[in-house]
Symmetry: C2
Subunit: 351 residues, 2 copies
């Protein structure tokens, strides 16, 4: 058993963990370990938004971003997922990860201009870029098994052994190194800034992002049926709640995405991606909303019972980003897209 | 909105609450407020254990303890409840409350001798006494409504206004004043000491007791049906789990009691009373055991939906007792009775 916080990020605490030192979780979970030299990671979501079937413009844009990713200083890993949002628009999101700010910065300027610059403004397809570049003390991961990293964990040096801080409410916070000394309270309200056709969102300190995924590709027979019939509908209900009614409880936006393969075909993987006012708001929803309480109860029972035999794979990555670790830019997107949903009704100022 | 911790018990914190300062619970709850002059409260459980129908000895013993309660320095409040335990014995428990240690001490010596002394040793009926006398910083209460105090709260000076620290995991701990500065970690293992026919249990620092009650006497029609058909069976399942399989997770013993009236007839009130190795062990069960997660999920939905219209009344009192605030004595009880269940297989030493 080891701490989810790697030794080089352990500091003298002014804030306690939620469990006693002898706490033993009821089933194993693991976290991604970066090399100690890694200071920041970059999580960059490149979105495309359109109605109906993909046009040639859409196909070209998806090829374009893949080509940009393949260039010098491109991401160490990326994946792609899609969903139809509450306004009926298809959204295809290509998510790319780096663990070196200098490489990202060297890559990003050109890619940004290509993706969401003046050439893109008139093609009638919505574009967005959502980037966090958290210090490693500001994010955590969790995996139910060892051999298939996802998201930012693909960049990691290795997976941990069994970690202690999981399977209790508060484990998410306790896995973030900064929680040793900081309550990570949000400060300020998101605001929108217009820059020509583009809208930038300036959020606030300690904005929170979760990407929480499931992979049912290895499940068989009974377990598959249980996931698809019992778990997935409850999960979807929770995801729909966050998408449609999240703002009053601090969820600015939620996307329940289906991962696609290189040919754009749906795989047996999905993830929810949501933006939150604070880690505390995410904690409260997860702990008390009936849909998530049911998800959690089912997961606890499922994982405690099946143990290492469970073929369903679960993972997440949660970031609490400082104000200067965020970038949001939208072009031709509807007003409920991503962080635009956090500033509805707010008057925009020019940049 | 006020803190559950009364102002005279608020101190400079070395440990944080689990929620931010702007946390707003989704429905109201209340706590009992004692006069600031109250330093300790006493919770004393006088149990009677027998097989089959009550004999004359049983009836006389119940009359005797009621008569003792009525004497000078007797309790400010008491109630009675019963259940049939896992070994098939009927248990009738008379619970008495004081808020003055001197009065309790003046009363207890004679009552103890009468209840569990040499005269009682040969009457063939099991007896026990379980007493906590916590400092007021070591216990908390919670009520879903204002006008019907139960248990120790009957002694209180008043009920609070709406308190902030509830409806999230960790609220129980955050309502205990000592949590401001102390993790309340248990120290040591319970041991048994024989004193003639009586067995005393010496537990350990930070032993935890919960009395958690429900009163469905005011519910009607749909709400009553929902409680009895949907909630009570799930509650009973959780209570049975703690009674039969609690020890490995730190629950030494659990009784799921039905409150009786002055004529010994069942009322529409019940409570669970359980002894725990630590507050942390109680927290882990409540948060992760499927039966309690379902209870909690149902309660959150129920109370959030019905709001002030809910007629079901819920309350609890939770104590984390110092080693010198505990007293356990058993006579002619089977080995799974109360805190005896915590020392099964342990060799007893004479007092």
């Amino acid at each position: 058993m080891e701490s989810a916080i790697p030794s080089h990020l352990q500091t003298a605490r002014s804030r306690h963990r939620r469990v006693p030192d002898d706490y033993a979780p009821p089933y194993p979970s693991f976290v991604a370990r970066h090399k100690p030299a890694v200071v920041n990671v970059i999580m960059a979501y490149f979105g495309l938004q359109y109605r109906g079937q993909p046009t040639a413009t859409v196909t070209e844009a998806l090829e374009q971003i893949a080509e940009l990713f393949a260039r010098a200083n491109g991401p160490a890993h990326w994946d792609r997922a899609q969903y139809v949002d509450q306004a009926g628009f298809a959204n295809v999101v290509s998510v790319a990860y780096w663990d070196d700010v200098a490489r990202f910065d060297a890559w990003f300027e050109l890619a940004r201009e290509a993706w969401i610059g003046s050439d893109a403004a008139s093609d009638g397809v919505g574009r967005f870029i959502e980037v966090l570049r958290p210090h490693v003390a500001r994010y955590e991961t969790l995996f139910s098994s060892l051999d298939r990293p996802e998201g930012v964990a693909v960049l990691a040096d290795s997976m941990s052994g069994e970690v202690q801080e999981h399977a209790y409410w508060g484990g998410m916070r306790d896995r973030i190194a900064l929680s040793q000394t900081d309550a990570m309270v949000p400060a300020g309200e998101p605001r929108a800034v217009r820059d020509g056709a583009r809208i930038r969102i300036i959020a606030h300190d300690n904005l929170c992002l979760i990407r929480s995924g499931q992979d049912w590709s290895d499940t068989e027979a009974e377990e598959r049926k249980m996931y698809l019939d019992d778990v997935e509908p409850v999960l979807r209900e929770g995801m729909d709640f966050l998408r449609d009614d999240g703002v009053p409880i601090g969820c600015y936006a939620n996307r329940y995405m289906r991962v696609v393969d290189a040919q754009g075909q749906p795989t047996e993987k999905s993830y929810g991606q949501s933006w939150w006012k604070s880690l505390a708001a995410l904690e409260r929803w997860a702990e008390s909303h009936p849909t998530h309480v049911r998800i959690f109860g089912a997961a606890m029972k499922y994982l405690s019972t099946l143990g290492p035999n469970a073929k369903l794979r679960l993972y997440h990555e949660v970031t609490v980003a400082a104000a200067d670790e965020q970038f949001f830019e939208y072009l031709n997107c509807h007003e409920r897209t991503g962080m635009l949903n956090a500033v509805q009704g707010v008057t925009m100022k020019p940049a």
